[in-house]
Symmetry: C2
Subunit: 317 residues, 2 copies
């Protein structure tokens, strides 16, 4: 009996507490509803980073080049402080900064805006503020990809997900789990070689036209292996966005998580250097909660930061 | 009577619906609790972008230089398709991309990690996944700044906020509204001239040590006007982060909103090219909801995209 009645009883207490809060302070409760959401649902959630950090050594399409990371130097003389071209250092100036040469914005974990392919398309800085937090759907094709690395997700894969979890929520972000991301560090060249897993054009059309999703995402750096990249062409020319180079989809639930969508905002940019965070239920086995990783203060490095041969700062004994 | 009882009655209906959902499908409701949060609280919320898009013409500290934006070119020859150094164009190649030279990561709307000043500090790629969605507190000093542009927020300003809204939630992001951001386009040089509004060191210490906030943010490009930047020094050497160059804080509520924290994730980076989105209550007067700006498909540009003299893509008649 305990098990059978525990959930309804707990829910009743929650509901009555909720009701009571309205009865006593209607105005305050109304304005604090989102903070209540944070306290009851987001604070104890498990956060999983779906982002590869980008660096000069990551996979990139062969038609572009790789990024250069280097120390920031003075762009102008400041008398008695710094000369033009002098590197800023912790010792002399009290701080450092990093300079980047990025030959492309199609780099690392990305958010592609339509302007990448479509000359009437929205740029990265045109994306509305509602690109923020959305339901996260994960469609798992990793076992099929293990059998056939060129496997492309189908409408049937989507319908199989829906048979288990219900209709995909409108406005969701739908990520395709292939486990291809595991090759990111070990088989960099593999991101420029076919076969690799993709998503079929009719599956993308189903997701957008029948389910009205916000965007889909995948782990490789292209949407499919067709010669004319028909999936990406259809998406961007029809004013949809997409995520590429996504990581850690094996560590999030197929349904029930949210995703926080972050990216740098260069004006008129044709690509998004992105950061996606999955927000999973409190009892999820992966990720960290705010209680476990509050973020302030942050842990101290074990060794001082020094640049490696590629200009990347790392704690260095 | 209607007004007096409406809120409790509506809350009762909500509470009973909530209770019923648990009674009928306890397991499913549990795993879908975060999606329920999206449907009931986030979908109808009003989203306000707190980010300046960055470009080659924005304010930057005089000791650095400004960014360069330019078309991406081929980094390698691909026979019968592109030669090294050839610009990718919509017409010839079917797509474009953008290349950036960023002389500093202290640029635009930022998230400063400790590594910017502290050689044992966390870098931008070390920040935990829990930098995602937090309560947003806005402390308003804009009227004092209108009288005295060098005004710095005090512990009393924080306590005045708390007298109205209650104790600042642990883990919150606390933004200081000065309305200084309104000078971003019109008085660029003003971001390198004192006086400008700041935050007093003891106020920062109060926020972190007494209230355990995640980070504070401000609209200018520095935390205070002391000669040794004592606020930033204390924050970063004590392994805290901070936001700079924040915009539109006059368009969000003092209490009750959430903030979505996004940024590019270069490995070992000393700065964060950031994007902050305020998530405000549904009846808030500013911002757009997911229903109003679903984000898919995105609006078409009125004219084709062309680069301006600074390399920034803009719809151009």
């Amino acid at each position: 009996m305990f098990r059978r009645w525990f959930v309804p009883i707990a829910a009743t207490i929650t509901a009555l507490t909720f009701l009571l809060s309205f009865t006593i302070h209607p105005a305050k409760s109304q304005s604090n509803a989102l903070w209540q959401v944070y306290e009851t649902s987001l604070k104890s959630a498990k956060y999983v980073d779906l982002t590869h950090a980008f660096s000069p050594t990551i996979p990139v399409w062969q038609g572009f080049g790789k990024a250069t990371f280097k120390p920031a130097v003075a762009g102008a003389e400041i008398p008695d402080y710094v000369k033009v071209g002098e590197e800023y250092t912790y010792g002399t100036h009290g701080f450092i900064a990093t300079a980047y040469e990025l030959p492309t914005d199609q780099y690392g974990t990305q958010l592609d805006p339509p302007a990448h392919w479509e000359e009437y398309g929205a740029t990265i800085s045109d994306l509305p503020a509602t690109f923020a937090v959305r339901p996260l759907v994960v469609i798992d094709i990793h076992e099929k990809v293990a059998q056939d690395p060129g496997y492309h997700a189908t409408i049937d894969d989507i319908k199989a997900w829906e048979a288990k979890h219900g209709t995909i929520p409108e406005g969701a972000v739908v990520m395709i789990r292939s486990d291809w991301y595991k090759k990111w560090f070990t088989e960099t060249a593999r991101f420029n070689q076919k076969p690799f897993p993709g998503v079929k054009l009719d599956a993308l059309q189903f997701l957008h036209l029948e389910r009205q999703i916000l965007f889909h995402g995948h782990e490789p750096l292209d949407t499919d292996t067709t010669p004319n990249l028909e999936g990406e062409a259809w998406l961007l020319h029809n004013h949809y966005t997409q995520a590429e180079g996504v990581a850690n989809l094996d560590q999030v639930p197929a349904a029930g998580a949210l995703v926080s969508i972050g990216f740098a905002k260069p004006e008129g940019g044709t690509g998004g250097y992105a950061r996606y965070i999955a927000i999973c239920p409190p009892d999820w086995q992966y990720g960290v909660s705010v209680l476990e990783a509050p973020g302030a203060p942050l842990p101290k490095q074990p060794h001082p930061l020094r640049r490696d041969a590629n200009g990347v700062l790392k704690p260095t004994p």
